[in-house]
């Protein structure tokens, strides 16, 4: 892929759910060789699969382009719920079993990837802005901060090369169905009775 892509999804990555990042990459590549795809789990309140990632990727693909996930490895110690997902949905209405051979743990969403390839290049976030959704047009270097660790980004008209350089360690093409919601069908959360 080009080292100066026009449209991509950016994500900070690291250890997750008690598994170190190296093991995650190895496991995901095994999944790719078995199934031809990878479900890369994520969560949080940005990059919703149905309202942001899928429309973003589809709009690029329909113009003949492709969108990659660009990963910046960081020292992360995310320890979410360890429940594995058993179902996925690309519309929130119809839920299908997670394909055999794929394991997604501790995530509400997953971006669907082809082969993950090691990379090593610098990416100036100052050249990009948010490409979809409510924050569309917001400078990426201001957007990616604090709890915001991922975004669908597009090349901006106003570029500031030196602003907020990140080191990309891995890339993978986002493939159909691009991004999905995932859940554990057995999971039922106790809810307390409502009291005023």
């Amino acid at each position: 892929m080009a080292e100066k892509p026009e449209n991509f999804m950016f994500m900070k990555v690291g250890n997750h759910a008690g598994e170190d990042f190296e093991s995650i990459i190895k496991r995901k590549m095994d999944e790719f060789h078995k199934t031809g795809m990878i479900f890369w789990g994520y969560g949080g309140n940005t990059c919703h699969p149905l309202t942001q990632v899928r429309p973003f990727v589809k709009s690029v693909v329909e113009k003949g382009g492709m969108v990659h996930l660009l990963m910046e490895p960081i020292d992360s110690r995310a320890e979410p719920d360890l429940l594995p997902a058993t179902e996925y949905s690309d519309d929130g209405l119809i839920w299908k079993p997670i394909p055999k051979g794929i394991r997604v743990v501790g995530s509400r969403y997953a971006v669907v990837l082809g082969e993950i390839k090691p990379s090593d290049f610098e990416l100036p976030l100052g050249n990009y802005h948010v490409g979809i959704g409510r924050s569309r047009g917001y400078p990426a270097d201001k957007y990616i901060k604090g709890r915001v660790d991922k975004a669908c980004l597009s090349l901006a008209e106003v570029r500031r090369d030196a602003e907020h350089i990140v080191q990309i360690g891995f890339t993978a093409e986002i493939i159909d169905p691009y991004a999905v919601m995932v859940r554990n069908s057995e999971a039922i959360r106790p809810r307390k009775s409502f009291k005023f």
């Binding site: 209405l93 979809i132 917001y138 915001v148 409502f194």
Partner: protein, 271 residues
């Protein structure tokens, strides 16, 4: 207004709300802004039978509760909330029943994609809406909410709308212009716009602001929405949330047995 009593009133409303669903762009206004907004629009809604076209924020309950507690001196005569999320409907009716407001505020399930039910057509003096901000569709989703509000009010009714208004995001201005044009084309005059009036609980754009827009319909103007209410065109549903962002969920169903049960909380119901 007693600030402590007023904030505690808002707090009671807030803990009664369901959690927002990001797949529908449900984002909640910050509490202080809810109080200010409730106080602000209550003057415009004075003695009006009012319909809310969607109300995830629960501003309707805030106004009714603040008036009942005598923290606001004026407010609407009655309020009816229409929302496609059954969790929102149940939360309004649950609160209303608990505090004995049933004769003042009620709520029923309704999706703006459907024709406005006849019992609501032209029956109100004012409508209020805080629609999806329309970032990806140039405000087309806003027009759907405004359309239903216009259908629901009398020829000289009032529109209260909350619309994105954040100078750092260029799309906000064009969406705001389109919404104003839509209102003007339908016989309204913009009577007030309070810029950058509210903020939201948002991880990614915590500084995002919205404005309060008030418009009054001129009773002598013939508009494009007179007559019967119709379903939204299929092509509008296909791009309701922008390109490749269809509206394919008819209702959000509440699986929590009105907040009492162990359950998966909600289920999406297709058209």
């Amino acid at each position: 207004m007693d600030l402590r009593a007023s904030l505690n009133a808002i707090s009671a409303v807030v803990v009664n709300r369901p959690k927002p669903l990001r797949e529908f762009d449900q984002i909640y206004m910050r509490i202080a802004d809810m109080l200010i907004q409730a106080e602000h629009v209550s003057k415009w809604l004075k003695d009006a039978n009012t319909v809310f076209i969607g109300d995830g924020d629960a501003i309707a309950l805030c106004i009714v509760h603040l008036v009942a507690l005598e923290q606001l001196k004026i407010g609407p005569k009655t309020v009816h909330v229409l929302d496609f999320d059954e969790r929102v409907i149940n939360s309004v009716n649950r609160f209303s029943k608990h505090y004995g407001y049933e004769r003042i505020i009620s709520a029923t399930l309704y999706n703006v994609a459907d024709p406005l039910p006849q019992q609501h057509y032209g029956k109100y003096q004012a409508f209020y809406t805080n629609p999806p901000f329309g970032a990806s569709n140039d405000g087309a989703s806003i027009e759907a909410f405004l359309l239903r509000g216009i259908e629901a009010i009398s020829p000289s009714g009032i529109c209260c709308a909350v619309l994105a208004d954040y100078p750092e995001l260029p799309w906000c201005a064009s969406v705001l212009r389109n919404a104003q044009s839509f209102l003007i084309d339908n016989g309204f005059v913009i009577t007030e716009l309070v810029p950058q009036f509210h903020t939201y609980h948002l991880d990614d754009t915590p500084d995002l602001t919205s404005c309060s827009l008030i418009a009054k319909r001129l009773g002598d103007c013939h508009t494009s929405v007179e007559g019967m209410s119709s379903p939204l065109p299929k092509e509008q549903l296909e791009h309701f949330y922008g390109a490749h962002g269809p509206l394919n969920v008819h209702h959000v169903r509440d699986l929590s047995n009105n907040g009492k049960s162990i359950s998966n909380e909600y289920q999406l119901e297709p058209f």
